[in-house]
Symmetry: none
Subunit: 195 residues, 4 copies
DNA sequence: TATGAATGAGCTTTCATTCAT
DNA sequence: GATGAATGAAAGCTCATTCAT
C-alpha cells in the first residue's frame, strides 16, 4: 500500500491550487493548465485525482460549504438564547468569508458556471437546509415569547439574503467590515422582533 | 431600394433574445448561435447590430440598469416620510426584478464574466451611488428624530445587501415572493429603528 | 434602349474604384463594401455590373495590360533600329507604371491572390508573348550584325525580369527613377552586345 | 513521463510544411488546417509551436532570408575580382532559389499579405543593405579601373531587379535555367562596363 | 505514477453574395 | 435598376481531455 496518505495530500494540494485560481480569475477563465501550474504538477496529473474540471469545481464547493458549516457550528455550541443563536449564526457565516477574501469570488461562480443546471438542485437543497436552521431559531424565539410572531421562513430568507448580499457587496467595495454591518442589521431586527 | 427595416427595433429584438438567453443559460454558455436562433435571425445578422458578444452584454447591462432605476424613481415620487422612502426604494428594486425573472440571472453574470476587471470599477461606482441614496433616507430619518442614531452607511449597505441576496436566493428557490420577504424585513428594521 | 451609355460608364467607375482600392490595400484586404463605398454605389449594385469580386479583378488586370501595351506600342511606332526598339520597349513598360504608382501594387496581387491557379495559364501566355516580342528585337539585331550572337530568348527573359524587378523594387523603395535605372541597364547591355 | 519530443525538430517540420503550403497555394489561401495536414499533425498542435499564422509566416521569412544569405556568403568567400564578385553574388542569390522552387512563391507573399505595412519597413532595410553590397562591388571595380565610371547605386538596383524579376518569371514559366539567364545578363553587363 | 505533447470539437467573427423591396 | 439587410460557410484560435512514454 504505497503512498496512500500522499495521494490524499496531493489531492488537497490540487484542490487548494484550484480554489485559489478559481477565486482569483473565475472558474471559466481558469484553465486546467493554470491549476496545474499553481499546484506545481503536470497537467495530466490532475486527472489522476479528478475526473474533470467540473469534478474539481464540485469538490471546491463541498469544501467551502464544510468550512462554513464548521465555522457556524463552532459559534453555536452551547448557546441557548435564540437571539444569540441568530446573531452567532450570521457572524459565523461571515467569519469564514472575511478571513479568505479570495474564496468569496468563488461563491459567485457556483451560480454562474456551465454547471448551473447541475448545481441548482444541490444548491436548492443546501439553501433549504440553511433556511430551516435559521427559521428554527426564530420559531424557538417565538415559542419562548421573546420574539413577536412573524413568518419565520420569510425572515429566515431575509437573514440569509443579507449575508449573501453583504458578501457580494464586499467583493465590489471591500472597504468595510462585513461583520460590523451584519451585527448592526441583526441587532436592529432583534429590536424590531422584541416583544 | 433595399428592404426597409427599423434598425432600432431590430436591435431591441436581438437584445431581448440575447438577454433571455443570457439569463437562462448564463453569458459564457450562451453562444452567438443561440442568440441568433432565439432572435430568429442568422448568425451574421447579429453583427449588423452589435460589434461583438461583449457589446451585447454591455447593452444588456445598461438596459437592465435603466429599467431598475425607472422602477425605483416611480416609487419614490412624492414620498416624504423617510420610513416610506426606505421601504419603497427596496420594493422598487425588487419590483423590476420579479416581473422579469430571467433578467435576474443576468445580474450575476455581470460580476463573473471575463469583463470582471472592466466591470468592477463601474459596479463600484453604481453601488456607491445606491449606498448613498439609501443612506440619505436614513440620515433624514435620524435628523427628523424618527430613527435612532445609527451608522447610516452600514445600514444602507445592509439594505442593499438584503435586496441583492433575496434576488440571488430567488434564482435558486423561486417559490416565494421577494416583495413580501423584503417588506417584512424592512418593517422589522423600521421598528427596530423607531425612537 | 435607356441608359446604354450610362451602364458602360458606371462599370468603368466601379472598375476604377476597385483598382484604386485594390492598389491601396491589396486585393485580399479589399472588401466588396470598400469598393462600393469608393464607387459611391450600393454593395448590391456592383453585382449588376460584375458577377463576382474575381470578375472585377480579372477586368482590372485586363485593363492594366491594355494600358501597358498601348504605352509600349506608341513608343515603338516607326522605330527601325533594333537597339532603339529594345530601349523604347523597356521605357514604354516603365512609363505606364511610374505615372501611376498605385497600380503597381496591384500587379503583385495578380500573382498571389486566390486566383493564382486560374491566372497562371493566362500569365504564362502573356509572358511568353512579351518574351517573343523582345527576343524578336534581339534576333533582328543579330541578323543585322549590330548584336553579337547570343541566346535571344534568355536575354529577352533578362530584359523583362529587369523591368518587373525594378517595379517591384520601386514599391519598396520609391525614391528613385525607374526609367533612369532601366536606361542605364539597357545601355550597358547594348554596349556589351555591340559588335 | 510524457512523450519525449525534440521540440525544435518538430517546429522545423511544421515550418517546412507551412512553407511548402504557403508556396504552393499562397499565404492567404493557406489555412491552418492545410498546414496541419501537410505536417501530419492536428490543427491544435501547430499552436504548441507557433502563436499564430502570422508567427509562422514571420519565421518562414526569416528562414528564407538566412538560407539566401548563407548561399551568397559561401559564393563570395575568397573572391577578389569585383567582376567575379558581382557574378557570384547574383548566382548565389539564384542558387538558393533554384534548389527550392516552392519557396520562391513565398517571397511574393511577403509583400502582399495583411502584413504589408509591418513588413515594408523591414523589407526596405533589407533591400537597402543588398543595394549597398552590390554597389560596393561596382565602386570597387571603378576604383580599380576595370569598370567604366557609372552610377553604381543605379546599376546595383538593376542587378537586384534582374534577380527578383527572373525569380518571378520562373514562377510563371519554370522551363528555363535562372542561373544561365542571369549569367548571360551579368556577363553582358560586365562587357558593357569593361574599360 | 506522472507527464506534457497531441488533439479536435467548438467558439467568435468576417464577408462575398443573395434577394426582397 | 439599385439597394443594403440578411446570411452562413469558413476562418483562426482555445483548451479540456487523452494517452504514449
Amino acid at each position: 500500500m504505497p503512498k496512500i496518505v500522499d495521494k490524499e495530500a496531493k489531492r488537497k494540494e490540487i484542490l487548494g491550487a484550484a480554489m485559489r485560481t478559481f477565486a482569483k480569475h473565475g472558474v471559466v477563465q481558469t484553465k486546467m493548465a493554470d491549476i496545474a501550474l499553481a499546484a506545481g504538477v503536470g497537467k495530466g496529473t490532475i486527472y489522476e485525482y479528478y475526473d474533470s474540471k467540473e469534478a474539481i469545481f464540485m469538490d471546491a464547493k463541498k469544501d467551502m460549504m464544510m468550512t462554513l458549516e464548521a465555522s457556524v457550528a463552532r459559534r453555536l455550541e452551547a448557546i441557548e438564547d435564540p437571539r444569540e443563536k441568530l446573531k452567532q449564526f450570521a457572524l459565523g457565516v461571515v467569519e469564514g468569508m472575511e478571513d479568505c477574501h479570495e474564496i468569496i469570488q468563488l461563491m459567485l461562480d457556483f451560480k454562474t458556471s456551465d454547471l448551473r443546471e447541475m448545481q441548482l438542485e444541490e444548491s436548492r437543497k443546501a439553501c433549504k437546509q440553511q433556511l430551516e436552521t435559521v427559521a428554527s431559531f426564530i420559531d424557538e424565539g417565538i415559542q419562548l415569547g421573546v420574539f413577536k410572531p412573524v413568518d419565520s421562513l420569510a425572515l429566515s430568507s431575509a437573514v440569509l439574503a443579507l449575508l449573501d448580499g453583504q458578501i457580494l457587496q464586499w467583493i465590489i467595495q471591500e472597504n468595510f467590515s462585513i461583520a460590523a454591518n451584519v451585527e448592526l442589521a441583526i441587532d436592529l431586527w432583534l429590536q424590531g422582533l422584541a416583544t
